[in-house]
Subunit: 490 residues, 2 copies
Amino acid sequence: MTPEEFRLAGHELIDWIADHRASAADRPVRARTGPGEVAAALPDRPPTQVESFDAVMADLDSVVVPGMFEMQHPMHFGWFPANAELSSILGDLASAGLSSVGISWESAPALTEVEEVVCDWMRQLVGLSDNWFGSITDTASTGCLTAMLAARERASSLSQNHGGLQAVESPLVVYSTKQAHSSVVKAALLAGFGWDNIVMVDTDPVTFAMDPESLASCVAADVAAGKTPAVVVAAVGTTGTTAMDPVAAIVEVASTVGAWVHVDAAMAGTAMLLPECRHLWDGVEGADSISWNPHKWMGTILDCSLFYVRDTDQLQSVMSTNPSYLQSSADGEVTQYRDWGIPLGRRFRALKIWFQLRLDGVEAIKDRIRRDLDNAQWLAEQVVAAPGWQVLAPVDLQTVCVLHTPVLRGESVDGESGASEPMTGQALDDHTLSWVRAINESGEAFLSPSQLNGRWMARVSIGVLSTEHQHVAELWKCLQDAVEVNNLQR
Amino acid sequence: MTPEEFRLAGHELIDWIADHRASAADRPVRARTGPGEVAAALPDRPPTQVESFDAVMADLDSVVVPGMFEMQHPMHFGWFPANAELSSILGDLASAGLSSVGISWESAPALTEVEEVVCDWMRQLVGLSDNWFGSITDTASTGCLTAMLAARERASSLSQNHGGLQAVESPLVVYSTKQAHSSVVKAALLAGFGWDNIVMVDTDPVTFAMDPESLASCVAADVAAGKTPAVVVAAVGTTGTTAMDPVAAIVEVASTVGAWVHVDAAMAGTAMLLPECRHLWDGVEGADSISWNPHKWMGTILDCSLFYVRDTDQLQSVMSTNPSYLQSSADGEVTQYRDWGIPLGRRFRALKIWFQLRLDGVEAIKDRIRRDLDNAQWLAEQVVAAPGWQVLAPVDLQTVCVLHTPVLRGESVDGESGASEPMTGQALDDHTLSWVRAINESGEAFLSPSQLNGRWMARVSIGVLSTEHQHVAELWKCLQDAVEVNNLQR
């Protein structure tokens, strides 16, 4: 494709995107296609002829768009806010337009140095000290795996450079909770620790946060058994309820045995842009690594996950490679991000944040986060005040965990109503999943059901860019209506 | 940023990219900034005010562009062709414009299904059987790590679900060669195998390909010593010389002990679009996994690395997670790509290939690959025919490994010239690095020096989209001139 052909098609595509975004609320939240429908609409053999841009765009409209979940819809309250600010899309496009590849500083000095500067800006914006050094990875899953590997090697005196994990005698142990994200267990398993060496520490029954006393007991027991506590993952904002593991207390326990502390703040890191939220990760300066994703609530388009460490030498001792074909005269004077993580080649992701911060301004981002916190508090107040409804976990951020419990009226022999009792067990799960599914299938709003203490609940995750108070109010009406219909149908 | 603001800025940015690409050859190949210069030109505090799009673009021009290596320059012969077809940039932009996030099939059905279809198209285009199933990862480094983890778990009967690698008694061994990419050793170390369990198999002194007899001996010795051969990495196109490890013979050895065979065809996979090249990976159907990067020679913009396996059940048994908040009614009927690799969230990368294949057509891509193969043969012929010049390795693809050896004239006592002998050792290395550096610093062309058998050589990697025969001819003149100047200065 020539630059002139690109210019023509590019203008069309920009207009298409502007229109697509402007009309997000007009489409259903959920995709309209069932399993296999998109694939069935595409040829099963690769194209042999050159096609026109119009033909490709027609398929984008008719095949792809109906098969997309509308993450930018103001009534999307599922999973997490997967925001994509249009300013960051421009940064992403600029990165593509520069068409460079970071495999070493020399291969793209600006890619490396803008990433350094932007990671440092973000560090300052969330109030971390200058003891932290950041890089951008694709996801917090990768960040967590990177932390596990660094921790494994610290606990085993760089076993990878000798006999590997198999040669390490004392079993290395990982500590987390059942409330932590699935990527924690996955990373521990991939790092080779083994399921038997993953300890699920107790959580507080009210806050669902890690109990540091339970952690201390587990650690003490493992040490007594000849095991080596290697890493504790502290979730700052768990996936289910945004529970806040007490980082300061965790760091205190971990420091007694030299265990690595990884702070997973994938969603909640954005809240730390607000000084009034930073008490939620009090003690973070004592951790060893932190992951947080601007590509969630902050609104930088995926993929853009920040990974900070304090000891970059240690990280590089685990991740470094220095083949002859990547050496240059600048070595030793510059940062080589290939030695900070798993992939070698990297995109110029820093531009996504660079464009967003400069074009939108950080104050506007902070105002939006405060709006979402207020909306969550408002919803929680409505829920708590409504008969039959409960909020199941503290609302520290923008997630409200909701349960509606119908009251079953007992029937006496003579047909008159007897004693009433709340629905429980499987019936309650069926009720919850049924009314949540009805909302989701309507296409008008979406929330992801999730389990807490083995029971299903409705999880309302607030914070899409376009979600204003009116949308949350609309959702609350939607929840009440759905429950009503469900009650009538039962 | 509103859709209308995005529309205005987006049009400007599209024009900027078209102009930037059209003028690639007018800029120096190498970045013009030294270590720290880009960072020094940026504020060390985050911006506090909203800035205009013009201000950001002005900085892109004045700070970022001078700090970028021009990968799309027709005189770029370094590392590998990091091509970025403008058609694939449109696909990348479309992906950003859809602003979705793949964390499950439900979160973006079209993202999952277009990826399945496109990976299958690519499978057909390189002549693989329908026993292979593909997904898109960021880089071949990640693909290699994924293969190592799958291999580790197959060799250890899913040790991660029990005591982990520490509980496995028989040491697990990895086989590769010194010619393989640095990511192979890195992946083996990160997977926990340990340096002591990485065996560097001998290579053929002429082809630099793995010697399957040496592999067989190593494997037999390890088995006799009670070790477990776990994985062999076959490089189809090594980084230094594009040497072709003999896949069929390697598969035969590996199959006797049940070792996993991972084929790293990161660069060379593109050549398999041409039926006449497929003999180079003969035997590939017997391997267990394959990585190849459309984001190199084929020209899909980074990041777009294909990872194929035959046994998807096995891969999923290693990579699967299924937390309640990601479950949906479609489970069991659909592909969940989160269970095929390390990261959870994924971009809609398949659109980059979808746009490229349809807009450019595969025949045009194949013609271009053939052009590059011809150009490499032409250059090799010139080099071989020129006194003092050598081609150090077979030119199977588009990389020509070049050495120029000056002849030292001995001087007799009476001042007349004595016996002549070729330069060797450190003096030859200094000569090579010196003339290559002179070319690179001129900004007129770029090649990455690399080591072969412990000696530096000039490595000419041909295949940038815009590199025509005239550019390769120009490079050959450039090499001869640089050596001439270097000889005079000595």
